[in-house]
Amino acid sequence: MQRRNFIKNSSLTMAALMVKPNFPFTQDTILGQGNKRYKIDTKWSQADVAKYPVNDCHEMIQDKKGRILLLTNETHNNVLIYDKKGKILDSWGHEYPGAHGLTLFDENGTEVLFICDNKRHQVIKTTIDGRVLMVLDYPKETGQYTQAEEYIPTETAITPNGDIYVADGYGKDFIMHYDASGKLINYFGGRGTEEKHLLNAHGVCLDYRNGGEPVLIVTSRQQNAFKRYNLAGEFINTISLPGAWVCRPVIKGDYLYSAVLQSNSRLWQHSGFVTILDKNYKVVSNLAGSEPNYIDGKPDEMYQTIKCFSYPHDVCIDDEENLYIAQWNSDKVYPYKLIPVV
């Protein structure tokens, strides 16, 4: 059997060699499949490392001025503000040693930020230039926590009326629901054996794509899944993503984007990629990952195929559909930019 393969194969290789000279540098690497394909620019950031160092690059957002904001746990400058070409415009923040989650909210025409700090065990609401507006401490009113250290918030999602959902993704995996003033209304999720429970609730977002009341999408990263809940915290269903350690869901237009920290098949070996799901939560493209394949409606196990990311942690989609990828524990690398291929 092997001999036959060998012969078949070597003739194929020969044919390939004859017709196609191998000039890897003449072609851009294209990531992804279908109509979600991208070119990668690993040198997008023009930041001078001596002036604007980063540690883990955790999350990114674009504000209405078109600027790209990066949150890092480097207290020299917790927030770096870029233009879309990668030039540093501004920076701020020294007091967020565990800067992890960054969410933008348009509060009656004024943009504000919510930062989850997993070392301070707090959620901090600030103006776009870093002035603190509100601090949410650990939710002892739930009765689930006896001390701040048990609470390690990773992400927030804000409803149009200002209600705040906080994912305790490195703590006890509860999702806290506060009103706009910071008063706890409800909590749900947590660990357990039922489908409604979570394991590493790393991200949360609101999905408005299907009209009507928005739906909460929560990450259950170690379960390689997203889980959907209504705003009252009632479980709806699971979106299973075998093999993919998905970080937060980010919705832009009809698509849901998520950095995949690593592949389950190669744990802690820099095996991350980026996944893109359509409106029906079907994977349509894996950037630097395996071509999506569904068997009886279920996705095949997904994994990294091209080693261009180490541990991608967040995706930001700008107004021109470019992607920016922030990475955790990846040798202090600045974000990469991905440009759509049309």
């Binding site: 194969n9 194929l12 003449t26 690497t29 190669r266 395996s290 091209i306």
Partner: protein, 263 residues
């Protein structure tokens, strides 16, 4: 002509400036039940990236594009078959090589008694060590029994008295998770005539600082003594003091074991 010659460096310079980064392919995805098998083991390989191919060898040599091209599951029947697989694709650096050795069952084991493992890593009890399951480098797997004690004693009873030629032990090495090979392995056999255990074979192991990634490692200890027995005693010493090159220096290392074979 001169003009033409000048265009060559200009051309090269142009290409150099526009050179895109060449990325490496990730290793192929291998799927199999266990590296331990009774009669045969099927191995599936996957790599869902267009215009790439998996090449493999079964002779221990590094795969090249002249070796076997993977196109359907392969069946392993011979013990100690080492499969090496690698992905190649135009415009990419070839992947790292994935290496797996498949190990056939040995003499029939009746029962195993072992030192109680750490409560966090109990495996599935002593049968974990002869269930033909394992060889996967996932330290959360139920295939492993984990120890952080000074000494681990494993008593193996064979179904019948037989000639013993070798003992194989399969361990996890995952230095990032403080899991090391044991610093010493000592194997004894029960000598009926003397009515006591006698030394059969042994090995001392120094932790290897160059081993970064997590992998299962088998240690096969051969003996040329002509021994017939149905009882084997294995004494393992987990690493008592982690070396200075590791962040856990001077602390007690972990030892994870998932299978024993007697030949």
């Amino acid at each position: 002509m001169k003009k033409f010659l000048l265009t060559i460096p200009a051309f090269l310079f142009f290409y150099y400036c526009n050179a895109q980064q060449t990325f490496q392919l990730a290793p192929p995805m291998l799927k199999y039940h266990s590296v331990f098998f009774k009669t045969s083991e099927m191995v599936l390989m996957q790599f869902a990236q267009p215009a790439t191919n998996i090449f493999f060898t079964l002779n221990g040599k590094e795969p090249t594009q002249n070796d076997s091209h993977y196109n359907k599951p392969i069946e392993i029947r011979k013990s100690f078959t080492t499969l090496k697989a690698k992905v190649f694709g135009d415009g990419f650096l070839p992947s790292e090589t994935v290496t797996v050795t498949f190990i056939k069952d040995g003499l029939k084991i009746k029962s195993v008694e072992a030192t109680q493992p750490n409560e966090k890593y109990p495996g599935n009890g002593p049968q974990t060590l002869f269930d033909n399951e394992g060889g996967m480098s996932n330290n959360q797997s139920k295939n492993f029994m984990g120890y952080q004690t000074d000494s681990v004693v494993i008593n193996v009873s064979l179904e019948k008295k037989q000639k013993i030629t070798a003992v194989l032990l399969d361990f996890l090495r995952d230095h990032g998770s403080w899991i090391f090979l044991p610093q010493s392995i000592r194997v004894y056999y029960f000598d009926d005539t003397k009515n006591e255990f006698q030394f059969l074979t042994g090995k001392e192991i120094n932790p290897d600082s160059s081993q970064q990634s997590s992998a299962t490692v088998f240690e096969k200890l051969n003996t040329d003594k002509k021994v017939v027995s149905d009882k084997i005693k294995i004494v393992l010493k987990p690493l008592s003091s982690i070396p200075a090159w590791h962040p856990g220096k001077e602390q007690h290392g972990w030892m994870f074991i998932d299978e024993i074979k007697i030949y």
